[in-house]
C-alpha cells in the first residue's frame, strides 16, 4: 500500500473515532436509558448524550471537544514497515487537527507551550506489534483528559481499603476508583483494569482492555464473573450520568491480568468517559475495512 493511501486511511480512522460513537457504546447507553425507566432525569441525560453523538456524526464534528490523547495499537505484517506507519499516522494526526477533527492537545510540561498539531514526545502514543501474516490492523483510542485524571493505580495490600493480595482486593480497588471519580470522569464510564504487571506494563494493559467490545465475555471465567458482579455493584452506587444520580454509573467493566513479581501486586484502573471513542481498521491485500461505520 502506498504511503498516500495509508495516510488517507489513517486520517479516516481518526475522523471516525472522533466524530462517531461506536455501536457497542450506543447499545450500552440504550440499555442504561431502559434501566433508568420512563421520565427519569438520568435517562434524559443519556438521551442528550446520544443526541449529541448523532449531531457529531452528521456534522463530522468532535463528539467531545477534548479529543483526547491518541493511542494507536498496531499489528503489522511483513508487507508493512513500522516507521512508515508511524510517519503516516503522524501526518494524518496533523491533518485531522487542521480540519478541526482534533483539538491541539499536546502541551510541553516545562514551557507550557501547546505544539498546535498534536505532535510531540509521546504524542501520539504508539504500540507496535509485528506479526507473521501479511496485512495491517490498527486500533485507535482517543482518550480524554478528564477521564484519564480519575484513573488510579493501587499497590496491594491497601490498608485504607482493607484490600488484600487477592481477587477480592482487586475488586475493592475498582470500586474505590469509580466512587472517587463521581461525575468527574463523565459518567457513565467504562473501566479497563489490569491486575498484576509492573507499574508501566500494568497501566498499559488496563488501557488495552478498553479495546474490547462492551458486549463480549471475558475468556477467563473467574474474571468474567468478577466483571458481572462489579457491573451490578458499581451501578448500585447511585452516581449516575454526569454524577447527578441514577442507576447508570458504568457501561462496562473489563479486567485483564499480567503476571506480577512475587513482591508486587499492582492494580491499575483506567477510566474512560461515556464519549468512548475508538475506531478499528484492517488492511488486507490493499483493501481497507473499518470494523463499523
Amino acid at each position: 500500500m502506498d504511503r498516500g493511501r495509508l495516510e488517507e486511511s489513517l486520517f479516516d480512522l481518526i475522523r471516525r473515532a472522533s466524530t462517531s460513537l461506536p455501536p457497542d457504546v450506543v447499545a450500552a447507553m440504550r440499555r442504561g436509558i431502559a434501566a433508568e425507566g420512563e421520565g427519569a432525569s438520568a435517562g434524559t441525560s443519556l438521551e442528550l448524550m446520544l443526541e449529541n453523538a448523532k449531531q457529531a456524526r452528521e456534522g463530522t464534528t468532535p463528539i467531545c471537544q477534548d479529543t483526547g490523547a491518541l493511542l494507536f495499537f498496531v499489528e503489522y505484517g511483513p508487507d508493512f514497515r513500522q516507521k512508515e506507519i508511524e510517519e503516516a499516522a503522524r501526518a494524518a494526526t496533523v491533518r485531522a487537527t487542521e480540519e478541526y477533527i482534533l483539538r491541539p492537545n499536546a502541551v510541553d510540561p516545562v514551557t507550557g507551550a501547546n505544539s498546535g498539531n498534536n505532535l510531540g514526545p509521546g504524542s501520539p502514543d504508539f504500540h507496535f506489534n509485528q506479526r507473521d501474516e501479511e496485512g495491517l490492523r490498527v486500533r485507535l483510542l482517543l482518550k480524554g483528559g478528564g477521564s484519564e485524571n480519575v484513573g488510579a493505580q493501587y499497590k496491594l495490600p491497601d490498608g485504607r481499603l482493607k484490600a488484600g493480595r487477592d481477587l477480592e482486593g482487586v475488586r475493592k480497588c475498582i470500586i474505590d476508583t469509580v466512587y472517587n471519580a463521581q461525575g468527574k470522569g463523565c459518567a457513565p464510564g467504562v473501566v479497563g483494569v489490569c491486575a498484576g504487571g509492573n507499574r508501566g506494563s500494568s497501566f498499559g494493559w488496563s488501557k488495552e482492555q478498553l479495546l474490547r467490545d462492551l458486549g463480549d465475555t471475558n475468556p477467563d471465567p473467574v474474571l468474567a464473573e468478577l466483571e458481572n458482579t462489579l457491573m451490578e455493584e458499581l451501578n448500585g452506587l447511585g452516581i449516575g450520568p454526569s454524577g447527578f444520580g441514577g442507576k447508570t454509573t458504568v457501561l462496562g467493566v473489563k479486567i485483564g491480568k499480567q503476571h506480577r513479581l512475587p513482591a508486587c501486586f499492582f492494580v491499575s484502573v483506567s477510566y474512560t468517559c461515556w464519549a468512548y471513542r475508538k475506531a478499528f481498521m484492517s488492511v488486507q491485500g490493499g483493501e481497507v475495512t473499518y470494523d463499523w461505520d
Binding site: N52, P62, Q65, D66, N105, V107, Q182
Partner: protein, 192 residues
C-alpha cells in the same frame, strides 16, 4: 426552565436553587487552568470588565478560524475541580455571578458562592457538538498565543445555553448530596 440573561444581578442569582434547570443568553468568557492562574495572579485588565456580573465557562473548545473570524466547533465543559484553589478568589475579585463546568466544585467555591452571590452550574460533560450550537458568536479572544487554543480566554455570545444549578448561593451542593449517598453504598461494598 428558567431564563437567565447576562449580565445578571446578584438578586436574580440568589433566587436560584440547586436543581433548577436554566437557559443562559448573553456574553460570557471561557477560562480554565492557565486563565484561572492568570486571573488570580494579575489584575486581569483585559477581561475584568467582562467578568463582572457575567459567567465563566470551564471549557477548552475546538475552534475553527475562517479569515479572521472564529467559531466554536465543539465546546462541552471541562472538569471544574482543577480550578478549586482559584475559583473562590476569582469570584470575589471579579464579581462573577456564575461558573459553568462539569463534575462540581469543593467547599471553598461553595463558600464563595454564598458570600458573593454566585452559582455553580453543570453542563452535561461531553455534549460538545450540541453545546457548540448554543455559542452563536465568538466576539474576542485573549491570551491565544500564550495559552494555546484550549486554554485561551474566549469571549462568546451564547443563546439558550442549557445548564443545571448544582451549587447554589445558599450553601447547597447536589454534588455533596450524591457523594454522601454513594458513600453509604461504597462502604457497604467494601465491607462485603
Amino acid at each position: 426552565m428558567i431564563g437567565i440573561k447576562l449580565p445578571v444581578s446578584e438578586e436574580e442569582i440568589r433566587k436560584l436553587k440547586a436543581g433548577d434547570e436554566i437557559s443562559i443568553t448573553g456574553v460570557m468568557i471561557t477560562a480554565r487552568d492557565a486563565a484561572h492562574k492568570y486571573l488570580v495572579e494579575t489584575g486581569g485588565e483585559d477581561v475584568k470588565d467582562l467578568l463582572r456580573d457575567s459567567m465563566i465557562y470551564h471549557c477548552g473548545p475546538v475552534v475553527k478560524k475562517e479569515g479572521d473570524k472564529y467559531s466554536f466547533v465543539a465546546a462541552g465543559p471541562t472538569t471544574s475541580i482543577r480550578e478549586e484553589p482559584y475559583e473562590g478568589p476569582v469570584i470575589a475579585k471579579y464579581g462573577v455571578r456564575g461558573v459553568i463546568g462539569k463534575g462540581g466544585m469543593g467547599p471553598d467555591t461553595l463558600k464563595a458562592c454564598a458570600e458573593h452571590g454566585c452559582v455553580y452550574l453543570s453542563a452535561v460533560g461531553g455534549l460538545a457538538t450540541t453545546l457548540a450550537r448554543s455559542v452563536v458568536e465568538v466576539l474576542d479572544v485573549h491570551k491565544l498565543e500564550e495559552f494555546g487554543v484550549p486554554e485561551a480566554m474566549w469571549v462568546i455570545r451564547v443563546e439558550n445555553f442549557p445548564a443545571v444549578v448544582t451549587m447554589d448561593s445558599h450553601g447547597r451542593s447536589v454534588h455533596d448530596e450524591i457523594e454522601k449517598l454513594s458513600r453509604k453504598k461504597y462502604e457497604e461494598l467494601l465491607e462485603k
